[in-house]
Structures are given as C-alpha cells and as structure tokens.
Amino acid sequence: MTINEIQDELIEDFSFYQDWMEKYEFIIQLGKELPLIDESNKQDQYIIKGCQSKVWLFPEMKEDKLFFTADSDAVITKGLVSLMVKVLSGHTPKEIAAADLYFIDQIGLKEHLSPTRANGLLAMVKQMKLYALALSAKAS
C-alpha cells in the first residue's frame, strides 16, 4: 500500500469512533501494534525528547526501503507514534520525505502537531523526514 492508501484506511478506521474517549482507546490499542525498538537501541541518540513523554525512534534501511522501530514511556504517545510508523515505515526515503500527512488533521489529532504540544509528535514527524531526506540524498 502507498502512504496515501494507508492514510485513507486510517481515516476510515477512525470514522467509526465518534466519542473522544473511544478514539483514544483505539489509539492506545494501536500503540500495542507498534514495532518495538530493540532495547539495545534505546540510546540517547535515538531519543526524541518531548517535554513530558519520551520517544525512541530507530531508522533502518532494508534494501531500498526505510523502516522504523520505536517506543515511548507514555501509552497515548506510543499510540500516536504507532500511527506515524504505520503510515511512513516501509517506504522509500524519497516517498517518506515527500509525504503529505493529511490524515492527522482528518482524524482530529491536529492539536497534537502544534509546536507547543508536550508529546513531541511534531518533533518525531520532523525526525522521520530528516532521516528520509538524509538517506535519499545519500542514494542519489
């Protein structure tokens, strides 16, 4: 599936949930599907420091595709990380760098992307794209 197909699928999944608490239950559930970062990679250089919850993000090229593993010490943050990894992981660096992440707004999570939010989601999206940019520059 392309990045946009995955985004569209998530938008549809989220449309089943009207209530905020149900949405967050789903996000928490998604957190459990996150491909976890290997404990040995939980090093400072892979920490994305939000103000309150910690996120570890590890990039790895397999053939021409970039994969991410991650973790967080907060459950909701972990769910949000899982969403991003679901959408971006397993695509070429070029595709990741160019991705327009419209699904965040459409599933009502835009507030989490404001620069002042405490979960570091914005910092994470930036970091994923930075890894992708660096790797696609390297490839070309």
């Binding site: 905020w20 608490m21 967050y24 239950e25 309150q52 943050t77 979960n119």
Partner: protein
Amino acid sequence: MDTLDIKAIREDFPILKREVNGKPLVYLDNGATTQKPKAVIDAIVNYYTDMNSNVHRGVHYLSQISTDAFEVTRRKVQEFIHAKHDYEVIITKGTTDSINLVATCYGQKYISEGDEVIISAMEHHSNIVPWQMICEVKGAILKVIPMTESGELDMEAYKSLLSSRTKIVAVNYVSNALGTINPVKEIIDLAHALDVPVLIDAAQAVQHLKIDVQELDVDFLAFSGHKMYGPTGVGVLYGKEEWLNNIPPYQGGGDMIKDVTFEKTTYNELPFKFEAGTPNIEAGITLNAAIDYINSLGIDNIKKYEDDLLNYATERLLEVDGLRIIGTAKEKSSVISFIVEGTHPYDIGVLLDKLGIAVRTGHHCAQPVMEQFQIPGTVRASLAVYNTKEEIDALVAGVKRAVMMLV
C-alpha cells in the same frame, strides 16, 4: 468567619460556564493561572475604553488618571501585604521578573567569590536559575536545603547550611509542585540571626493565605498578578526600604532616572528606580480589581474553604487504586500532585482533557523535585476558590476512567 457562597462566586467568572470537548469545563490548573472575575475583565475593558494613556509622564488629563490608577494599585498592594510604605512595592512583570531583579541587583553588590546562596529542594525553576546565574558570574556557591519524603524542608539541615558565608536565602512560601506550606517565619528568623536577608517566592501563597510582610519581617517578597485572579504580565516585588535603597537599579531607561547626562545619570527614588520603561499599564491598573475581589471574599474565608476542599480532594483521590500523592506535608495549600501506578502522567492529562477537566501534567518547572521522587512528573490538580466538591468528584471519576483505559 463567613461561609462563602460558591455558587455566586462561580457566577463572577464567565469562563466557568463554557464547555471543553463537549463537557462542562472543570478548571483545576489554578496553580498555573487562575481565571478572572468579571470585575477584572470589566476593568481591563474600561481601561482601554476610558483611560488608556502612559503613566508618570504626561501633564494631560488621561495620563494623570492612568497614573493615579496605577498608584492606587501600588497602595492596594501595600495594604494587602501590610507593607510599611507604598514605595516598597515595585510593580514588575511577574514573580520571575521580581526574583531576577533581586538576584541580579542584590547579587551584583553583595555576592562575591566563595559566598553562598541558599535555596531549597522544592523551588520552581524561577527561584533556582536566577541564583545559579549570579553564582556563576560571581563564583559563588548555591546551597540547597534538602526535603523529606513527605515534601517538607529539613530544617536541621537548613540550620547547618547557614553560616557567615551565606549572603541570601531564597525559598518559596508554598511549593507549586507539592503544595507544601513552608515555615517561612522560622526560615527568616534563623537567617536574620546571622544578618542574612531572605527572599520569599509567594507566587503560590498570596492568593491562598494571609501575608503580612512586617510580621514576617521578610526582606523581599515576590508574586504574580495572574495567579491571584488578576491580569497577566504584572507582578510585585516587595522589598524593605533599606534594601531597595542599597541595591543598584535593575534596568536603565525612562522613568527610573532623575537626571541624565552623558557623563553621569542619577537615579530616581523608590519605587521608580526599579521601574524602567513603560510598564504593563493595563495590568498594573487592573490588578487593583483582583485584590478588591479577594478582599471582598476575605482571604481567611478563601483559605478555610480551599483547605476543606483540599482535604476532600485528598480523601477522594486516595480511593483510586494505585494512586500515590506526591507531597504529603502536614501543612499544605491548594495543590495535589499525584501519580498512578502503571500510568504516565501525560496519558492521564490527555484523557482528563477530553473529559473537560484541565489539570497540569509534567514536572511543573520543578525538575529537581521530580528527580528526588524518581518520577517523570505528576498530575497536578490545583484549586481556587471557585472550585467545588462536584468538580473534585468529576476529577476522581475521570482519573478512574483514564486508569481503566491505560492499565
């Protein structure tokens, strides 16, 4: 003592009627900032509608009424904290600004290499960093009064830290992260026995309990308007006349001078010596309305009501399985910090927000406190006079629901 009519008080705060995420707002982040009563909001509108003009400068009518109104606030603050003179009340931008002023100006004159500054383990960053900065410049040493597991200052340790090298003691009256009320009178008396001045950060105290600076015999006292039902961008530094005359001015500019030539400037007298530039006139003037509001309720009545509510909240929260209150001092005011086993404070904060409940999560600008308790942060509910038992019930139900989802 009167019983407060909380229903009527809630009517005074328009924002309390609004909904958040489709639920009635339950505002329990008063330690960060309180909501404003209509009297303050009206005063702000009135200022811009009717009297906007710069203060302490113009001979024209509007400048005179603005200046008068600004000075009315100064006298109101003087009365409120029972200062001896109105010129001992410096109008600042807020608590942080007030503390920076003292750290910089007192430090410049009185702190030298090898001297010591004493703070406590439960300070807000704004009462840590300014002292670190001046210590770094001067080659002085920052000493920290430790605290116990319950979040009380170790007074024996404090006594042993005090010495002839101590140049100033700076501690908070009420801890923003734990709610502990510190024995400031004893802290001040012990320091004074060695002729050491004391700064009290009263940001979390002045809206909850009666403060009398003469009775405390405190040398400097700092607080903010926006945490006491007043506007943002204004605060107070109280200083004893003698200290304020002895320390050099903070910033240079208009209003703080007597005569300026390129060779030499002479400074204005108190309080203007410390009030360079155009102040936040609107906030300075309307802080008066906030103090009037507190006075109309009676600070002792506020304290009694909030203490009862704090006890109720403490009892009820402890019903939640795995909930641990951080900060269990005997003397507490209006703040409950807690964590729930197996959950991250951030997660609880996000879910409470979706239920319309505003709390603060994180380290509350007191990272050393979190470090001592070995936690990433807490969930903090902080109370004001308009909060109710029903809101505490909503908080407890919300926490229980969040924990069910998270654990």
